[in-house]
């Protein structure tokens, strides 16, 4: 068995709100094809971890490294070559030409002034630009803005579901595919979502806010899948749901994983999470205190006592 390739590597991550640090030197790895779960009590920093990975919360130290697949890189490059300004105005290109000219100014003839100005100009031109991706390279997610991380194949289904309550189910799904530029593929994926969650097709013209909790959770997962993620971040999918629906949702997570989506699952319902996951991390007040294979954690007496209520 070859060593699994790390898809996501979080190293010594620190993040927080205001004066408070929530995460303290947190490290974890998600390998391609795995379901990894983070279990922990309220306020341990589970959601903050996911939000830091997908760029919604700014990180303070440490790195989040991500290795996109070749396929993602190709579609990303095709859709975003050069960034919006370059594609629509050509201004950055022009500024870079100016910078190259300024860099040739002899130092004695004002080059000492012109060169830094040129560099600043080039930096300005690249601001907000979509990074150029190269294959077989890792990308540091915490230097990429949240809306671009989605395009790299990392998609979050946020805590509390956060569906768009006044958009219909169909419109919610279409918003999930906002980053995509292939209408036919999007239509096909909407049909796939309906196959996976038949209830959504029945409700497709109803506003999302009128769905029941379980249906909203399904919608949130389906919406997160619309961007065709390689890594799905699931935040508390069982929150506030009836046990029967929870089982259903976790079955779907397993099914998705079989189709090749790696999953990072954050849960308070530790028993369910450990049953579907391959590996688990235990998070306590912003620190990873324990990690092992999921079945080992499930039988570990300390875990059983603290998180499984025995």
């Amino acid at each position: 068995m070859s060593a699994p390739a790390p898809l996501l590597e979080v190293h010594n991550l620190e993040a927080g709100y205001g004066a408070i640090n929530v995460l303290h030197r947190l490290s974890l790895v998600v390998n391609a094809g795995e379901i990894v779960t983070i279990i922990g009590a309220n306020g341990a920093g589970k959601s903050t971890t996911l939000n830091a990975i997908c760029g919604v919360v700014k990180t303070r130290a440490g790195t989040v490294r991500y290795t996109p697949s070749l396929e993602v890189i190709e579609s990303f490059t095709a859709a975003n070559a050069g960034g919006w300004w370059l594609r629509n105005t050509g201004i950055p290109q022009h500024l870079e030409r100016v910078t190259r000219k300024l860099a040739r100014v002899p130092l004695a003839l004002g080059g000492f002034l012109a060169r830094p100005c040129g560099r600043a100009l080039a930096g300005f031109a690249r601001r907000g630009d979509v990074p150029r991706l190269e294959p077989d390279k890792r990308y540091t997610l915490n230097r990429i803005p949240a809306h671009l991380i989605v395009r790299l194949g990392v998609s979050q289904s946020p805590e509390g579901r956060k569906i768009f309550p006044r958009l219909t189910v169909l419109e919610n799904l279409e918003m999930g595919a906002f980053t995509r530029t292939d209408p036919d593929g999007v239509q096909a994926d909407i049909r796939k979502a309906y196959e996976m969650f038949p209830i959504l097709e029945k409700r497709k013209h109803q506003p999302g806010g009128l769905l029941s909790g379980g249906e909203q959770q399904m919608l949130a997962i389906a919406r997160a899948l619309m961007s065709r993620p390689k890594l799905l971040l699931l935040d508390e999918p069982s929150l506030g749901l009836a046990p029967q629906i929870v089982v259903q949702i976790f079955d779907i997570v397993k099914e998705l994983n079989k189709q090749g989506v790696s999953v990072l699952l954050v849960e308070q319902n530790a028993r369910m999470a450990l049953k579907v996951a391959h590996r688990g991390y235990v998070l306590e007040t912003g620190r990873i205190t324990f990690t092992d294979r999921a079945d080992a954690l499930l039988h570990d007496p300390r875990i059983r006592e603290a998180y499984l209520g025995e």
Binding site: K162, M175, T179, I199, S212, E215
Partner: protein, 381 residues
């Protein structure tokens, strides 16, 4: 909604036909022209408040900036002497640029705080206009604004040959020519916004208004979307300002661009129906129409009817703010979503109606589909 789909084109057709009617008067037509200008302004504000949900309380400043840009570019006092088309486009561009520059630093503020800063911006802009004597001539305003309509066309082209009756003017900036121009612009803006609502950008704005965190998880860039909305709103407000200056042939007293105007516009948008174009136009016609046209008509009528000492109190124009306020309170109590609500707002404010609708649909589908799964679903929820 089928009624709403036809009444707007019908209203536009009726307004376009008005100058050809024998009862048409130049004065009334000029009042209508101003009404159209305010409708454009309300649509501009609707982009910011209705689509993205940013409560902007300084829209009058962009209106003023637009008017004064046209003033500076056309009055004899300055050497620029541009045509109205150039000046109006410049007005939109300048307003949009000021909108972006003043909003970019405050995008992180939410809700009330954003509203307060924009309110402050509106006040600062008003005082700047009033006190920049060298550019704006202070409270006198810039005048006369008598520019040619297009580059290379003189302002004094005689249109007397096209006159239908004595009410029609002889210059392009007189009734009914400017009336047609501004009505056309209002129609153009309405069409533009209709297409925009259905575009990717329009969808993104709605999603952003619904939930900012979720939208950034979907790959939307909230900062750029908000700036785009403010730029478009401010640009359209600047355009409205340009038409205002042209219709009045002066920038008028800067007091016309004060906080009251911003607030009245917010009222127009909310009265008509936040986020709904037809509603916003209707709301503006009702509010501004009442304020500028109906009060005068009622005043004259009452003064003719009564001939006693009490008639000094029978001036609707004196009571108009009370009528205004009462109407708004009644409105908010009984129809908070506005006269013609956007369907999404309707759902939010009257959940019982749409829930019943949804349940009926679900029952129908359950009857048609597999009853087993449907029952299980309902039990569990």
């Amino acid at each position: 909604m089928s009624v709403a789909r036809y009444w707007v084109p019908a209203l536009f057709a009726a307004l376009a036909a008005y100058p050809f009617l024998p009862v048409a008067e130049a004065n009334r037509g000029e009042q209508f022209t101003i009404l159209f200008v305010y409708a454009i302004l309300a649509l501009a504000l609707n982009v910011v408040i209705g689509y993205t949900g940013l409560l902007h309380l300084g829209i009058a400043a962009f209106f003023g900036i637009g008017a004064y840009t046209v003033g500076v570019l056309t009055v004899p006092f300055f050497p620029l002497q541009q045509s109205f088309l150039v000046a109006a486009l410049a007005a939109a561009a300048v307003s949009a640029a000021v909108g972006v520059m003043t909003t970019a630093p405050i995008l992180r503020l939410r809700g009330d705080y954003f509203a307060l800063v924009t309110l402050g911006f509106g006040l600062i802009a008003l005082y700047a206009i009033r006190n920049l004597d060298a550019i704006t001539e202070g409270t006198k305003g810039l005048n006369p604004i008598e520019a040619g309509p297009l580059p290379g066309v003189k302002e004094n082209v005689d249109l007397g040959g096209a006159r239908l009756n004595a009410e029609w003017g002889t210059r392009w900036y007189k009734y009914p020519y400017l009336y047609f121009v501004i009505l056309g612009a209002l129609g153009g803006v309405t069409l533009l916004l209709r297409n925009l609502e259905r575009s990717r950008l329009g969808r993104a704005w709605v999603a952003l208004r619904e939930d900012e965190l979720a939208s950034s998880c979907m790959g939307l860039n909230p900062a750029r979307l908000k700036l785009a909305a403010v730029a478009l709103g401010a640009g359209l407000a600047g355009l409205a300002g340009a038409f205002y200056a042209m219709a009045l042939r002066t920038t008028g007293n800067p007091a016309a661009f004060d906080f009251t105007l911003s607030m009245t516009m917010v009222c127009c948008v909310i009265l008509g129906g936040l986020g709904n174009r037809s509603g916003v136009i209707l709301g503006t016609f009702i509010l501004i129409g009442f304020d500028r046209i109906a009060t005068n008509l009622l005043d004259n009528y009452l003064q003719e009817q009564f001939d006693s000492g009490a008639k000094t109190y029978l001036k609707v124009s004196g009571w108009r703010l009370i009528i205004f306020g009462t109407a708004l309170i009644v409105m908010m109590r009984f129809r908070p979503e506005g006269l013609l609500p956007e369907s999404r707002h309707q759902r939010e404010l009257h959940p019982e109606a749409s829930e019943a609708e949804g349940e009926a649909a679900a029952r129908e589908e359950a009857a048609a589909g597999d009853p087993g799964t449907e029952g299980g679903e309902q039990k569990s929820t």
